[in-house]
Amino acid sequence: MTDRRGSLELIGPVLALALAGIVGSTGFVDPALENEFKGALVSVAIVVALYVFVGNSGVVSFGHVSFVAVGAFAAGVMTVPVALKPTITPGLFAFLGEHSVGNLASLALAAVLGGLFALVVGIPLMRLSGLAAGIATFAVLGVTYNILNNWEKIGPGPLTLTTIPETTGLLQATIGAIAVVAVAFAYQRSRYGRKLRASREDPAAARAAGIDIHRERLWAFALSGALSGLAGGLLVHLAGTLQARDVYLDLTFLTLAMLVVGGVGSLWGAVVGALAVSALDSFLLRAESGEVGFVDDLLGKPLWGGSRLVGVALFMAVVLVFLPQGLTRGREFHLPRLGRRRAVAQESSA
């Protein structure tokens, strides 16, 4: 009974993502807005991947975008047509320059490399906790960025990689986001997820109960890295171009903020946070471009340039002041219990 009720927690995130996918594909939506919907769905995938580790372990990671970056570069470099590689990325290792793969294979490769990278760096890092863990993961981000930004044997170096097939349509973005959510849900309901959450609540008690915290964190980190890599693959196939800066600090802070705004303690929070911040970001961008009629009418001109960044930051600040645990208060999705309410009402009237 408890398991069945628990499974209902997945309905909210899946419905929200399906709704975003459906609304994005309706005729009301222009191509630019459709692109924003795709972006929101990919953001959900990244934030949920981040949540798998941060939400379940309680350890903040500033380095998850490294795994997104690895996935994005792997999927991007390996899907540029072989014929174009000698001119676009002439410095690649021969085995990278002479081969290309399709969309699905590139996404699988992105997930595998993201997971492996996380596993390798996680072995030493997962022994750390608190601020030390956060700073160490941030160091991983810095190292990854600099390697990707400079090493032309594995990518475009400081240049922008172009001609990447734009295969992340609304369907792929929706399926990708739902798949990441489903894996995250399955993990947090598994005994591994429960062990990690136990260690989050009380490390000493968890150790006393025989939980190997380092091992549990490492598995979660690797799984989270694999999902991040997959999300990176979705991202690069959405953008069609890629530069190391695209998967660095801005994305790190934006995705962490999405998680915090939604509620770091729940999967539902990760989904809501990513969608809400993406929507606000999209709305303000359009208002700045004079695309939102009522804002133009109100101000007599488009919103000031740069308002978007201020608006998103203010939104986060307001949410955190009034709802410190995020929009979902760190809780999972629950259907309103109408049946129980009716029964209570009948009992009291009797």
């Binding site: 939506v29 630019a32 807005l33 069609g240 530069q243 993406s278 961008l285 471009s289 979902t328």
Partner: protein, 400 residues
Amino acid sequence: MRRTGTWVALGAALTVAISMTATAASGAISRSEAKKPIIIGAAMDLTANMAPYDTPALYAVQLAATKINAQGGIGGRRLQVNVCNHQLKNQKTCALQLIQQGAVIGMVTCDVEFAAPAVQEFINRGMLTLAPCIGTDQMGPKRFGPQGRLAFTFGNIAQDEAAAMAEYAYGRGWRRAVIVKDNLLAYFQNVADLFKARFTELGGTIVQEEGFSSFSNTIQNAISKVAPTRADVIAFPTAFDGLAPFVGGLRALGNDTPIINSWGGDGNYWWPQNPPVRNYYYVTYGSIYGDDPKSAVNRLVREVTAINKGETPATGSFIPGADLVDALVAAIKGAKGSTRGKVLAAQLEKFKGFQATSGKITYSKTVHGVTGRAYRVMVVNNNQAKFLRFWKTKKLASTG
């Protein structure tokens, strides 16, 4: 309490759908005009780091479009410039918005790395895509593959600009050079590498090479390494946040070696007050200080200033901006009114010495950037900029 949290979250999710749908509904445009305008979709940066380069170019394009329209447009069709300020963050969304608004010609920001997402989107839809001032040969097939045939820049390519810097420096009798390379953008890297190639080819010696990256707080390291070096000239092709600390820092440390920069170092918006900029040279498209030898350039400066609320253009990018419209008009006329990307690209590739505002423009099937323009060599002393002379590249630089 638990239900309240669920409803708050549901409300947020609904807000997503409603706000996105509402903004979608407000984006519709009328297509009922009998003779539709030719819409140039400008995905530019008007407020972030590329603004000093993009804004003057955009104003020049708008100005030129107004003049064309006053003369009856192109075959009776008005030129309309729709702008989306992407702030270097949402280039692709901007490109899609502009396409939605009916843009048939794409215009992009003045650096190929920042422009790439919009370029890719425009050329994927078969649109001719023009950059007023991208300074490398990457704006074309070299970076964008076969579809890159639709991408052109009106900026001078790095092989030309770096050669002009090297030739001018060598011509001044400067034989020993330091190169400080900014690794942020391919443009800066190309100019630094090509300066080295041309300077050594002429007989000069590179006595020291340092590197840094804009926006990464690495410039101080370069300053401390270069300050004690004795050289005749320091080649410092960059823009952005490294300019003021490097130029000011070297002078504060007593190093008064001439510094030569590319067009990236144009403008006075970055000049430090103390110590002021001195012994600083750069090459550019046109002087923004009213002392350009060409009266047409000075007139253009006044016109751009007038539509820029009295502010002079930040850099000389208004010159290639004007060229862009000259070339576009000629291409559309040559294509008998067609605005199809492939047709217009074929017209532009036929340009051999096409006379534009700044001079003659020649393109080929492989090179979609400009060579052979006369550079203005400018000097700044005590925060006063002055036109020194013209310099035309004698031989393109090549790294072999």
